[in-house]
């Protein structure tokens, strides 16, 4: 439950922003990270940015999520083939 997801801030008005992770976009708040700017990458947890992070951290996590998604698709296909 404590997992935070890196996402790029693509819109921002005050402490309300829109974040983008791998094409998925959602509304977040930047109340806890007043230093962030449009275009920054932040860790988002439960709708709040909790830290500004570097591109490298985000890239690693996005790659990991893509791998997990691929793996789960494969597993589901394998299950489908069994049935």
């Amino acid at each position: 439950m404590c997992l935070a997801i890196p996402a790029r801030i693509v819109e921002m008005t005050g402490d309300r922003a829109v974040a983008d992770a791998m094409g998925n976009r959602w509304a977040i708040r930047t109340t806890l990270t007043p230093e962030v700017k449009l275009g920054d990458i932040v860790l988002v947890h439960a709708g709040y940015a909790i830290a500004k992070v570097e591109e490298e951290e985000a890239r690693q996590t996005w790659e990991l999520f893509a791998q997990i998604a691929d793996m789960e698709t494969e597993q589901n296909q394998a299950k489908g083939a069994e049935q």
Binding site: C2, R29, L32, T33, L43, H45, A51, V53, T61, E63
Partner: protein, 354 residues
């Protein structure tokens, strides 16, 4: 994933464990680590004398049944609207869960912000926000309370179930399981608290504390650092997650937690009452405290018969050693809390190691 980094971390781990020459028990405090360890197949890559223990680091798992029962009681009231994170709806109380009740006034929210919006949209109801989670999640609840106050909302309340990770680590080493040699510290809790927060654990108990993120290389690097520290008999606080975790954490988040909440003794499911292990809403924000608004007294509950979640959460037992595991207790029909949450130790073992 950088294979060279993984290879060198594995080599370092082998060497350090060879020097130690006895069984080493490292507790991964965080449920997200538990799942990541299985997903990456890390458990199969470890030296034979390194044992990983899954800790009490899943907020859903350590939420006391008495709290769940209170939520269910409030959900039965027609004047209340329950706003909860999705993780909580499957957790069984003494008799039932929110999911099984299928009540019309339970809403799953993605953020505390959504709960405030619900209160604005439904002035005829009192919104009860089911606030669980560790320090990663607590600041969002604090912001919501502050915002509700600024908006002058009279129908927004919080049932505070927030817990503090560090007192639980202290409690484990102070008696519940003093065989833990070191902690792999939670990545995202540490984003808020900062790596420095673990210094008292090192100072008081002489145990290494290393913060890691959730990629395979980070976890292996973290374990390698831990075992090197044990081999050298030089425990310290370290972090291999410097891209997100600063020594001082997130000061804005720490400040707002402190503004709205104060530490109190509180029940952790499976672990019992932990001194300063929970948070309560400060008196000046009592208007937003669901417990005070509805005059609730929470009664900590007994564990279901045969359930060994308490021992699992302390690292005293592997999930598969519980008599209910995989038989009476499965992810579809969970008995204990560790089987309910996908980040619970038992659910992770069931999915990956059966």
């Amino acid at each position: 994933m950088r294979l060279d980094v993984i290879q060198s971390a594995c080599n370092e781990l082998e060497q350090a464990c060879a020097v130690i020459g006895r069984m080493v028990q490292v507790m991964e405090v965080c449920g997200t680590h538990t799942v990541a360890l299985f997903r990456h197949g890390i458990r199969s890559m470890l030296p034979a004398n390194l044992k990983l223990l899954s800790g009490p680091g899943c907020p859903v798992c350590v939420t006391d049944q008495g709290y769940i029962d209170t939520v269910i009681d409030l959900a039965r009231r027609t004047d209340c609207l329950i706003a909860t994170y999705g993780d909580m709806i499957r957790v069984p109380g003494r008799n039932t869960s929110l999911e099984r009740l299928t009540l019309p006034n339970v809403r799953v929210v993605l953020s505390s912000d959504d709960a405030v919006a619900l209160a604005q949209k439904h002035p005829e109801k009192t919104v009860v926000f089911v606030a669980v989670g560790f320090e990663t999640t607590t600041p969002a609840t604090a912001v919501a309370i502050r915002q509700a106050q600024e908006l002058g909302l009279k129908n927004f309340t919080v049932l505070c179930g927030h817990k503090r990770v560090l007192p639980a680590m202290h409690a484990l080493l102070s008696g519940r399981n003093d065989k833990i040699d070191a902690f792999l510290c939670p990545g995202h809790v540490s984003v808020i608290l900062g790596s420095r927060a673990y210094e008292p654990v090192v100072k008081n108990f002489n145990r290494p504390c290393v913060v890691a993120g959730f990629e395979a290389e980070q976890i292996l690097l973290g374990l390698a650092k831990i075992c090197r520290q044990i081999a050298d008999k030089r425990p310290t606080v370290d972090s291999v997650y410097s891209l997100a975790v600063r020594p001082e954490g997130n000061p804005v988040a720490i400040r707002i937690i402190d503004q709205i909440f104060e530490p109190c003794d509180g029940p952790w499911r499976g672990l019992g009452c932990i001194p300063d292990g929970a948070l309560r809403i400060r008196q000046q924000y009592a208007d937003f405290d669901a417990q005070k608004r509805f005059g609730i007294e929470q009664i900590p509950a007994e564990e279901p018969g045969g359930c060994q979640c308490g021992k699992v959460l302390c690292g005293l037992m592997d999930p598969s050693q519980c008599g209910l595991f995989g038989k009476k207790c499965t992810p579809d029909h969970p008995v204990g809390p560790c089987m309910v949450s996908t980040e619970g130790a038992c659910a992770a073992w069931y999915k990956y190691q059966r």
